[in-house]
């Protein structure tokens, strides 16, 4: 079975309110799955359920062939989890803490020293092994949290907003670290930062209010983000109907007497036609730009699509 983690019909209710509704997804070996959504969308709840910290109200989770609910010990041996706040004992040194994580993750005594050393090296903790965790910067604490999650070489690593609260340099370093981890483990991460998903993930799931709205590869998301409208300023504009009649143009919105937004079918950009026509017809083109979709736009678009269906 190539699917390392597989969730079906995952739901979670708090009282009457559904926080997560009927999520279905799977992660294959070596894949990075990103959960994208605004705050309060149910990302953390989903991560908690996947890591066994919270039982789902409905649905099943299979990790590396073990049912998380029926065989929690075996299933949990194959996951590493870093919650939003790294779970650390601040009074321990980095080396002591990692040695403890190795113990509770049932790493045999003979392999323990090697596991701790390798994880210290991989997470760039060599200089701070003897320091107390409480005295480390947030970035290093996050690294210790990640080290703890991967020390037993789990099949799936679950990271809940791994870069929140870090400064830009730390964010870059942590992303690099996650990319390295992804070479050896499957990773599920949640975030509300779109570039992070683009940089790190193979698969994207967008959720809002506990519902899965969009599930595709990163290329699919790029397509969604691709612009399909132009912003055009013409000082001597023709009649709107002339613009609408251009090939591939679907809709023309007039924003002001001289400004237009031209929506076109994807893969058929009418910019060139407009430029050449503006020269021959003397429309006095002043501005032409393709509109970039931000995450909000994509997000709103996906939510709107969902509501239309």
């Amino acid at each position: 079975m190539s699917e390392l983690l597989y969730a079906k019909g995952l739901s979670r209710f708090y009282g009457e309110q559904a926080v997560v509704k009927e999520l279905n997804f799977s992660v294959k070996k070596g894949e990075v799955l990103g959960f994208l959504g605004p705050n309060g969308a149910g990302k953390s709840t989903t991560m908690k359920m996947l890591s066994g910290n919270l039982s789902p109200s409905q649905g099943e989770i299979i990790i590396n062939g073990y049912d998380l609910l029926a065989e929690p010990k075996q299933a949990k041996a194959h996951i590493g989890y870093l919650p939003e706040t790294p779970p650390l004992y601040k009074e321990l040194t980095v080396a002591e803490f990692l040695s403890f994580s190795a113990d509770i993750n049932k790493i045999p005594r003979s392999a323990k020293k090697k596991a701790v050393e390798s994880v210290i090296e991989r997470c760039g903790l060599t200089e701070v092994t003897k320091r107390l965790i409480g005295n480390l910067s947030k970035g290093f604490q996050q690294r210790v949290g990640i080290a703890q999650a991967i020390i037993h070489s789990p099949a799936v690593v679950i990271l809940d907003e791994p870069t929140s609260g870090l400064d830009p340099i730390q964010i870059r370093e942590i992303r690099q670290l996650i990319r390295d981890i992804a070479n050896e483990h499957s990773v599920i991460l949640s975030t509300h930062i779109l570039p992070e998903v683009q940089m790190l993930c193979d698969q994207v799931q967008i959720i809002n209010k506990g519902q899965l709205l969009f599930s595709d590869t990163i290329a699919g998301l790029r397509q969604q983000m691709q612009s399909s409208s132009l912003l055009v300023t013409l000082l001597a504009p023709p009649d709107v109907s002339i613009l609408t009649a251009l090939p591939a143009v679907n809709l023309v919105e007039q924003i002001s007497p001289s400004q237009f937004r031209i929506h076109y079918s994807p893969d058929n950009d009418p910019s060139e036609a407009i430029v050449s026509l503006s020269v021959t017809q003397q429309w006095q083109l002043r501005h032409l730009s393709s509109e970039q979709h931000s995450l909000e736009d994509v997000f709103m678009k996906i939510i709107q699509n969902e509501q239309e269906h």
Binding site: P72, P83, Y89, D103, I104
Partner: protein, 247 residues
């Protein structure tokens, strides 16, 4: 489970609290111990004239164990309060919950670590009366009964404290509720002294069972009482942590 217990005990000794509790309880009990000796030396001449009068063990060691129980009632909530409440406040509980450990492992690990600490304290307390062996014959059976009694009492203190710590996020609240519960269980037999119908209350009293052990009477019913208390509160803790994942 044992890895968890080892770590728990290690972290306990990293905090100054454990050392301070060990040092100060030793100081107070040593003072009481010395004053009991002092008193015994004063009355020794008169006691020797009475046949069947209390001996060294009965007049020095037993009052010491009785005092120690009261002192430990006051300080044990300070040790047990942090067990789960602090993990919750630091949000470090997911570390244990997502590791391949069952809730039973987690609860027993924490329980064993704390109990090991109290047994160490008990050892230090027991050394005081044992040091009298240099100068005087001791009633070792009576002493053994008292040590057994205190160890059972501490086992139940730990279990009750662990449960109350699992109910809250604030260690201070855990300490206060533990202290109140222990104190209530301590004095609950006061209600039993004036009415005949309150056999249940006096049976519930932690003190009543301890006193019988201090008199050198080892009844299996008293031992069973403490074991029932320990088992009950451990099961309640396990259930509490389990239900947290469900709700």
């Amino acid at each position: 489970m044992f890895a968890l217990a080892k770590n728990e005990l290690y972290r306990l000794f990293l905090s100054p609290l454990a050392w301070i509790i060990l040092a100060l309880s030793q100081l107070i009990l040593a003072y009481l111990f010395l004053s009991h000796i002092d008193y015994f030396i004063q009355v020794q001449g008169r006691l020797s004239a009475i046949p069947g009068a209390p001996g060294v063990t009965q007049s020095i060691a037993i009052p010491l164990f009785s005092n120690a129980a009261t002192l430990l009632l006051l300080i044990s909530p300070l040790i047990t309060m942090r067990l789960i409440a602090e993990e919750r406040r630091n949000e470090s509980l997911p570390l244990l919950l997502s590791a391949p450990l069952s809730i039973v492992d987690i609860v027993l690990g924490k329980y064993l670590a704390t109990y090991a600490f109290f047994l160490l304290l008990l050892l230090l307390i027991s050394l005081m009366p044992l040091s009298l062996a240099v100068a005087s014959p001791l009633d070792y059976r009576l002493l053994a009964a008292a040590i057994l009694g205190l160890s059972l009492l501490l086992a139940s203190f730990t279990a009750i404290g662990l449960y109350l710590s699992s109910l809250t996020k604030q260690p201070a609240i855990a300490a206060m509720t533990t202290f109140a519960s222990l104190f209530l269980l301590w004095i609950i037999d006061w209600a039993g002294t004036n009415a005949d119908s309150s056999g249940l209350f006096s049976w519930l009293s932690l003190l009543r069972h301890y006193q019988r052990l201090l008199q050198g009477e080892v009844h299996s019913s008293d031992i069973a009482y403490y074991l029932i208390i320990v088992a009950t509160f451990l099961i309640l803790t396990i259930r509490r942590l389990d239900s947290e994942r469900l709700n």
